[in-house]
């Protein structure tokens, strides 16, 4: 573990790993820039679907980046009390705040949760990329199923990378601790305890009951957008899942269909060859369908899922911003009705006013960041999917065309043979 060689510039290169196990987990192109969710199967010719313009963007991003993080190598830890998975988190950086240029730690899902809640606490109106869910309710997936672990690993990787790309979040103290400290447990205990978190929630609830005095129109518009975006993402996500399901059922039937041609061929003479030809075309097409489904579930599905979660994040951010404003307004009202001891309260009100100002500005800034990356992510995912579908049809086309050629070529021969005799 400690001897892991991490090359200086890993954008586009395969990491030099010691264990074979690691190769299973991720192979080939681990793109770090823009968190582009590319599939990692060696078989899929993924690179051909990436646009040149995107490559340029990423390379530019890569040039400006001074911190690189990867998540890999899931391992299960079995103890008397519990069993859980840890992931290896490797950091390479040239930032001066970091004592070393390379770090390697092991983290479990709880640790990621900790980091996220710390970030949200410290930067309430910044948009933090979502973590993969704790449990997957939809499918009866075991927590320790390989596919589940791999999907989660990729999502965790994207989560950390989004943070490294964020100008403010990447400088967070907690982020540094997460990446560098051997043991996270002591830090987890040091954070604001359960009780203080409870009181914050209660304050927030009280404020929301009061209602906001006046909401800036820009935030009202933002709220409306967030609600609509959430609905739309859920719809797109649902449709995509349905499509994946239908594809799978189609593929299952194709797998039954092909063999009927081969079975028939066994009792035929002249007809055997064309029958086998059709049968093998169907077989090849069903393999292509399998690949297509895999691509869909590795590229489009996780991306859409993350943006469904993003919508929830956005809603939380809006709520927190509203709460900050509500707190200020409450204190401000209290100040207005007070006649004596105004100075101290005034200070508090001024502080809260600053807080509101900061929160709003932070949100504004991050909002456009988020919009840009959302657009890039979804655009890229849809483009790749469309490109893969084109590729799928092109491959199937080639299969049938070569069959056609073989059949027509044969009948030409037969005709020539008949003429000769």
């Amino acid at each position: 573990m400690s001897g892991a060689k991490v090359p200086a510039d890993i954008s586009g290169h395969m990491l030099d790993l010691d264990e074979e196990e690691d190769l299973e987990v991720f192979s080939k192109n681990t793109s770090l820039a823009e968190g582009n969710p590319m599939p990692n199967s060696p078989d899929s010719m993924v690179n051909q679907f990436r646009l040149d313009e995107e490559n340029e963007e990423e390379q530019q991003g890569a040039i400006n980046k001074d911190i690189f993080v990867t998540v890999d190598n899931p391992e299960s830890h079995i103890s008397a009390i519990e069993t859980f998975i840890t992931y290896r988190v490797v950091t390479r950086t040239t930032r001066s705040e970091f004592d070393s240029s390379e770090y390697e730690v092991r983290r479990r899902y709880q640790d990621f949760l900790w980091l996220k809640s710390r970030l949200e606490e410290n930067y309430p109106t910044l948009i933090v990329h979502p973590l993969p869910e704790k449990f997957v309710m939809k499918s009866m997936v075991e927590r320790f199923n390989d596919d589940f672990i791999e999907t989660r690993r990729k999502a965790l990787h994207r989560f950390l990378n989004r943070i490294t790309e964020h100008p403010i979040l990447s400088c967070s103290h907690h982020f540094k601790v997460f990446l560098t400290d051997e043991e996270l447990a002591p830090h987890r205990k040091l954070g604001p305890g359960f009780l203080s978190r409870m009181s914050e929630t209660m304050r927030a609830m009280a404020n929301s009951v009061r209602g906001l005095r006046s909401k800036l129109e820009e935030f009202a518009i933002m709220q409306e957008y967030v609600d609509d975006f959430s609905n739309n993402m859920c719809s797109v996500d649902k449709v995509t899942h349905r499509i994946t399901k239908e594809h799978r059922e189609y593929m299952d039937e194709l797998k039954q269909y092909g063999p009927t041609y081969f079975q028939w061929a066994e009792s035929e003479e002249l007809l055997a060859e064309p029958l086998k030809g059709v049968g093998s075309c169907v077989e090849k097409c069903s393999k292509e369908t399998e690949e297509q489904i895999q691509y869909l579930s590795e590229v489009l599905v996780p991306t859409l899922h993350e943006y469904v979660l993003c919508a929830d994040t956005l809603k939380a951010v809006m709520r927190r911003r509203d709460n900050i404003q509500a707190e200020f307004e409450a204190k401000n009202e209290a100040l207005a009705s007070k006649t004596t001891d105004k100075e101290m309260l005034q200070e508090e009100v001024d502080d809260l006013a600053d807080r509101v100002e900061q929160a709003n500005n932070a949100l504004r800034g991050d909002w456009s960041r988020w919009r840009t990356s959302m657009r890039a992510d979804l655009k890229s995912a849809f483009i790749s999917t469309a490109a893969k579908n084109v590729d799928y049809y092109e491959k199937c086309l080639a299969v049938w065309e070569s069959f056609l050629l073989s059949q027509r070529g044969e009948s030409m021969e037969q005709r020539n043979g008949a003429d000769a005799s």
Binding site: V236, E253, R375, N389, E394
Partner: protein, 433 residues
């Protein structure tokens, strides 16, 4: 399919009678034949719904098909005479086919399109009145007529000619041939189980082949139906993207246009599956024809078995009668019989009675020998003619099905090209997001 046969030369009925047995065994391609299709252009042009009272005086709706014919020489001369035409129901086609089956038990008679829609994928209608079904049936009926009219043996049949030309009274004419009684007795005999002592090896092989053909084509058709169902679902579900992208595009400034137009392509993609699957039905129909052909082939083999069985029965009968004669003549009982025992116990009969019995037996034996001779000739002729037609059928099947597979490949290619088009367009739209 059968249209190709127009160009082929076929042996006429007279010639095959004259031809030596070895010649008729091979699929002969003689130059000039008297095949009906060469003399007459046939088509089933239209279908219409009719209402009327049926046999039990109940009102029913049925479909009639317009059978049109035109003399070939008139067409060849450049004149374009209007066709003669008459209307026929599906049941009349069935009658014609049943008549042909009984009259030519050694011929693999072309099948009719299915009576009821089978192997239906769920969106396709199983209703006999559905216009798509009626249209496919019209094509199937035309195909049937073309195949029969181009068959070296069947095309010369009188009832066929009258079917095509005599609208009224045709049914009565067919019934008057008395083929029904023959059909009924054959049907009864065939449904009974019987064992043949010395089966015709090649025809038994053919029977097994026909069983295989039936099961393989029906398995294929079933699987294809399920695939069609699933394919339909995949395409149609993409239509949801159209609706969802449209809604989403309303709230997006930069991405809106790209999403909206991509959504339109998704709608087009979903809609394209209807034509794709309708075309594939033609492929299914071609396979269904051979599924039915397998039954016809089997029937030919079975009927020969029946002839063989009847021959063996007749031979057996003759042998036992000859034995009886020997016993009576010599008084020696070779085999155990009740008569023999009672004779031993109670004494033999009077010489006059014996004389009478012997004479009767001689008559029966003479008859029996005639019967055996006839049956043997019948059996041999059946086997010969059957084999000739089976060879012709095999060649036709190989050619037709190979062409069907090529057409299927063309359909798949067309589907792929449409898919490439749609998704390339969608990709262009996404690029504009």
């Amino acid at each position: 399919m059968a249209e190709d046969v127009k160009g082929e030369s076929v042996a006429s009925n007279d010639e095959s009678d004259r031809a030596a047995s070895d010649e008729s065994l091979s699929n002969t391609m003689l130059t000039e034949g008297s095949c009906l299709l060469r003399r007459m252009e046939i088509c089933v042009a239209e279908a219409e719904k009719r209402s009327g009272k049926n046999a039990v005086s109940m009102q029913e709706t049925y479909t009639v098909y317009l059978v049109e014919t035109r003399p070939m020489d008139a067409i060849a001369e450049g004149r374009n005479p209007p066709p003669d035409s008459l209307w026929r129901r599906y049941s009349e086609f069935e009658l014609l086919r049943n008549y042909l089956i009984v009259t030519y038990p050694y011929i693999v008679v072309p099948p009719l399109p299915e009576k009821r829609a089978e192997f239906v994928w769920h969106k396709l209608s199983a209703d006999n009145m559905d216009p798509d079904f009626v249209e496919r049936r019209r094509i199937g009926l035309e195909n049937f007529l073309l195949r029969v009219a181009s068959h070296p043996v069947l095309s010369n049949n009188e009832m066929l000619y009258h079917f095509l030309t005599k609208e009224h009274g045709w049914k009565e004419m067919v019934y008057e041939t008395g083929f029904q009684t023959k059909a009924d007795s054959r049907l009864r005999a065939l449904s009974a189980t019987f064992r043949v002592r010395s089966p015709h090896k090649r025809l038994v092989e053919m029977k097994h082949y026909s069983d295989g053909l039936q099961s393989h084509t029906s398995q294929l058709l079933r699987a294809r139906t399920r695939v069609a169902d699933r394919l339909y679902a995949v395409y149609k579900v993409h239509g949801n993207y159209g609706r969802v992208f449209s809604e989403w595009s309303a709230i997006e400034k930069e991405m809106g246009d790209g999403l909206q137009s991509a959504g339109h392509h998704m709608d087009a993609y979903a809609a394209s599956v209807d034509d794709i699957l309708e075309e594939e039905e033609h492929y299914a129909d071609q396979l269904k024809e051979y599924l039915s052909y397998a039954e016809a082939l089997r029937a030919v083999c079975r009927k020969h078995e029946l002839s063989q069985f009847e021959l063996e029965m007749a031979s057996q009968d003759l042998i036992s009668k000859k034995q009886q004669r020997e016993e009576l003549a010599t008084g020696i009982v070779r085999t155990f019989s009740l008569k023999g025992m009672t004779n031993k116990l109670f004494g033999q009969e009077a010489p006059e009675q014996r004389e009478a019995k012997l004479n009767l037996l001689e008559e029966l034996i003479a008859e029996g020998e005639e019967t055996v001779k006839e049956k043997t000739a019948e059996c041999d002729e059946h086997a010969e003619k059957a084999w000739a037609d089976i060879v012709r059928f095999k060649d036709q099947k190989d050619k037709d099905l190979k062409e069907a597979f090529i057409n299927y490949a063309l359909m798949q290619i067309s589907m792929c090209k449409k898919g490439i088009q749609v998704w390339s367009n969608a990709k262009e739209c996404f690029l504009k997001m």
